[in-house]
């Protein structure tokens, strides 16, 4: 276990933060930098957490792993793999330098998300530095814990605006014994319908993508279970399945190559195809759709809003505007008050999530 004391930089980080609080200087928190494109343009003096690394605790039979924020996702996944376990939410790395802290701060999840849950669903506890300059622990190392407000899950996707993540405890799961990918030729409407109908049946589906020509379904489970499910579903086995899902998760699939903005659209999964010109890749059973379009930001958001969803400028585009869907006034007010509850001086990644947060 890589829990050497010299890899524990929490005290150094605390001093750095306290100095920033004293001088009222904003900090721009970073890890490996693999997701530095995400969110609004950062401001503030850089503070980096990659030195604060190491798996602090891992007990395979407890299904629990605790690691410092700067630990790379690669290191964690290798360790888990050694015991036949995995991070069930398949966080995208984008680069090999990606850290656990970044995965939780961005709250991003991969292809398995609709079937196994998101990054936030697997958080059991968090140790963090808030804008008060204190190291606080929330949650714990056990599967069920309702003592105190759920401040640990609140950190997922908060982009470091509520605290500098120091240590994260996650629930992990055994890797499925067997996996196959099925492929079907399909029209867009038919693919959306199929994904949702299949998800309403007890089948071991663990990922789904429609690339405008073919529908791909991944099945995970025991060999006998998958064979039975394959008989029910039909379709051909896609031999390159494993690479395919890695490429989807890591945005290496050719769809993602673009000079223009890449949108992430989140809608109720069975929402019919949205009327926005551009190229689409449908994931998560229809609940997450990637869009390449030159349409104006307001036009995209209006269409998505009326479908009951929200739209994020994931990569590219104008990073000084609101890249995340604008909040209604009463929710924005709560965001402001929560921000100031954790970070009264506005030191932590100000403006990264929303202007004024």
């Amino acid at each position: 276990m890589d829990n050497k004391a010299d890899n524990d930089q929490s005290e150094w980080l605390r001093q750095r933060l306290r100095e920033a609080i004293r001088t009222r200087h904003a900090l721009c928190i970073s890890g490996g930098g693999s997701k530095s494109f995400y969110g609004r343009d950062p401001e503030g003096e850089p503070v980096n957490t990659v030195g604060h690394r190491g798996i602090v605790k891992y007990e395979p039979t407890e299904l629990v792993l605790t690691a410092r924020a700067g630990t790379t996702l690669n290191d964690i996944e290798q360790t888990l793999d050694g015991h036949g376990q995995m991070l069930p939410f398949e966080p995208p790395c984008f680069k090999s330098c990606a850290t656990l802290g970044g995965a939780i701060a961005t709250g991003l999840s991969g292809p398995a998300r609709p079937y196994r849950g998101a990054a936030r669903d697997y958080i059991l506890g968090i140790k963090c530095l808030t804008g008060h300059g204190e190291i606080l622990s929330f949650g714990g190392e056990v599967m069920k814990n309702v003592a105190g407000f759920d401040a640990s899950r609140l950190m997922a996707g908060a982009l470091g605006t509520l605290g500098i993540l120091l240590e994260i405890t996650l629930k992990v799961l055994p890797k499925p014994a067997h996996e196959i990918t099925l492929v079907f030729e399909s029209t867009r409407d038919n693919a959306l319908m199929t994904m949702n109908q299949r998800a309403g049946r007890p089948l071991p589906i663990s990922a789904s993508v429609y690339d405008s020509e073919r529908l791909y379904l991944r099945l995970s489970g025991t060999e006998a279970g998958i064979e039975a499910a394959h008989r029910q579903l039909g379709g051909n086995i896609y031999p390159e399945g494993e690479h395919f899902w890695d490429d989807i998760r890591e945005h290496r699939h050719e769809f993602y190559f673009t000079d223009g903005p890449l949108w992430r659209i989140s809608v109720p999964p069975a929402t019919p195809a949205l009327d926005i010109d551009g190229q689409w890749l449908v994931e998560w059973g229809g609940a997450q759709r990637w869009l390449k379009t030159r349409k104006h930001i307001d036009d995209v958001r209006n269409v998505v809003s009326s479908a009951g969803g929200h739209a994020t400028v994931f990569r590219g585009g104008d990073r000084t505007g609101e890249v995340f869907h604008t909040l209604p006034a009463n929710l924005y007010a709560i965001h402001r008050r929560l921000k100031s509850a954790f970070d009264p001086h506005g030191i932590l990644n100000p403006g990264r999530l929303y202007a004024g947060i």
């Binding site: 998101a118 599967m143 814990n145 105190g148 407000f149 759920d150 055994p174 014994a177 309403g200 989140s266």
Partner: protein
């Protein structure tokens, strides 16, 4: 105040007579009782909003109550406060089988959701033992679990949206039918917030397909340690059962007397292990689990032959609390959660203390996720027994913290575990909780005095968080 309330609500929706207030003086934690100023039963969000605004103007505290089945006193009224009974918010507003969600009002019973969507082959997964009676609003407020949460998660993992009325009368729409929402994860923050941040007026729940096959194995052991080890071995083998529950001898006998489930009454412990999924997969896993159980010295392994027997095996477990209620005048249910590997040692310590305090304990656990429910048997009419029971209970919770666990896995802090919160969290952490509360309810009118202790209370309790190296229980090095 009464005149003002009557301008908002019809006469029968306002209760203030002693005898009308009586049924509301406690929730499922009957040891704590308090009559409220009045009870109101609004029917519409507009009425509720007017009541909330009135309370804010007059600075009257508000306690929301669902079915009143909570076990930590979260819905205990305040003598100077209004009790909001949300029972009339009992409509299922929408069932959307294609998107696999249901939109319901907070007073809808947990089980009623699954019953309403059964025709679509869907169900709502979290199943607290009180699911026949408990309401979904209360489930969200407490982040309720159940016997199937090892595989399917807690309430937080099974809801997608909330509508929440704030103390300012603002209606917040948090999440919806999407898998995520922009900004902070307010859905997580609201879940388990015990009515301190807002009043839940609508819940969007996620529905899952009913598994093709679900089979349960009932296994008897001659000693508790072997049963505990079998639990670790099943999970270590890469199997995540839908439910994995343990009961000790006293709990087995109580449940058997009450339900006649066919439990082996002479065994030291039983394990109930449910496996679900595709039929072929379930059969494969049953064979694997059987092997593991046999290797762990199981003395009797029975796989339920049909759905009727499966339901019966579970009925004993789900009725464990009332069953224990039959064998003692009173019982006190604890809810600590611990890392699973500490289970045998913690059980041994509880049994030592049980002798010391001269109070029997029946143990029921969600073994798969380390959530203990020791039920301390006592008689409130015997002088000093209640105090002894509470002291014993508090020691069990301190022990749970000492082995790296928590004071509450699914029942909530309420009024009951405020002192132990002082042990689990330090003053900076408690201050942060108060700051979160203030961000929603700066006047502290929503369920004040519950869930998060004041620092003053902790100072008086004299048990501020003890840091590593100075833990209580110096005898615990064997853990």
């Amino acid at each position: 105040m009464l005149t003002a309330v009557r301008r908002i609500l019809p006469e029968q929706a306002v209760l203030y007579d002693e005898e009308d207030l009586h049924p509301y003086e406690c929730d499922g934690l009957t040891a704590y009782r308090q009559r409220p100023l009045m009870v109101v039963l609004p029917e519409t969000v507009a009425q509720l909003r007017d009541i909330v605004r009135l309370c804010q103007t007059r600075q009257v505290p508000l306690v929301a109550r669902g079915a009143g089945t909570g076990l930590s006193g979260g819905a205990l009224p305040l003598s100077n406060g209004m009790l909001l009974n949300l029972a009339k918010f009992s409509r299922i507003l929408e069932i959307d089988p294609v998107n696999r969600i249901a939109r319901v009002e907070p007073g809808v019973r947990n089980l009623a959701i699954s019953e309403a969507v059964a025709e679509h082959g869907l169900y709502y997964a979290p199943d607290p033992s009180s699911q026949i009676a408990c309401s979904i609003g209360g489930n969200v407020a407490e982040n309720a679990g159940g016997v199937h949460c090892l595989k399917y998660g807690l309430t937080i993992h099974n809801i997608l949206g909330l509508k929440v009325l704030t103390i300012d009368g603002e209606l917040l729409e948090i999440g919806g039918k999407c898998l995520d929402s922009p900004g902070y994860d307010l859905l997580a923050l609201m879940t388990g917030s015990e009515g301190l941040l807002g009043i839940i007026v609508e819940v969007t729940v996620k529905l899952l397909p009913v598994p093709e096959s679900a089979r349960v194995i009932l296994t008897a052991f001659d000693d508790v340690e072997a049963a505990a080890k079998a639990v670790g071995d099943i999970i270590g083998a890469g199997i995540i059962p839908a439910g994995l529950e343990m009961m000790d001898n006293l709990a087995i006998r109580a449940a058997e007397d009450y339900i006649h489930a066919g439990y082996p009454v002479d065994s030291a412990a039983i394990l109930l292990c449910e496996l679900d999924g595709i039929e072929a997969e379930v059969e494969e896993q049953i064979a694997q689990v059987r092997d593991i159980l046999t290797r762990n010295r199981a003395v009797d392994i029975r796989v339920a032959i049909d759905q009727k027997q499966r339901k019966l095996f579970w009925a004993g477990r789900k009725a464990a609390f009332p069953a224990v209620g039959k064998i003692a005048p009173d019982y006190y249910c604890m809810d600590g959660t611990i890392p699973r590997h500490s289970l045998p040692a913690v059980l041994k310590q509880i049994s030592v203390w049980s002798d010391e305090y001269r109070l029997p304990v029946a143990n029921v656990f969600h073994a798969g996720d380390g959530n203990l429910h020791p039920l301390i048997l006592y008689d409130a009419n015997q002088s000093g027994e209640r105090e002894r029971t509470e002291a014993f209970g508090a020691r069990i919770l301190e022990l749970c913290i000492a082995v790296g666990g928590t004071i509450t896995g699914e029942h909530g802090v309420g009024v009951e575990k405020l002192d132990q919160m002082c042990s689990q969290f330090d003053s900076a952490e408690l201050n942060q909780f108060h700051a979160i509360k203030d961000a929603f309810d700066p006047g502290r009118l929503l369920n004040p005095g519950k869930a998060i202790p004041t620092l003053q209370r902790c100072a008086e309790f004299g048990a501020m968080h003890v840091h590593a190296g100075q833990l209580p229980f110096p005898e615990l090095d064997r853990f």
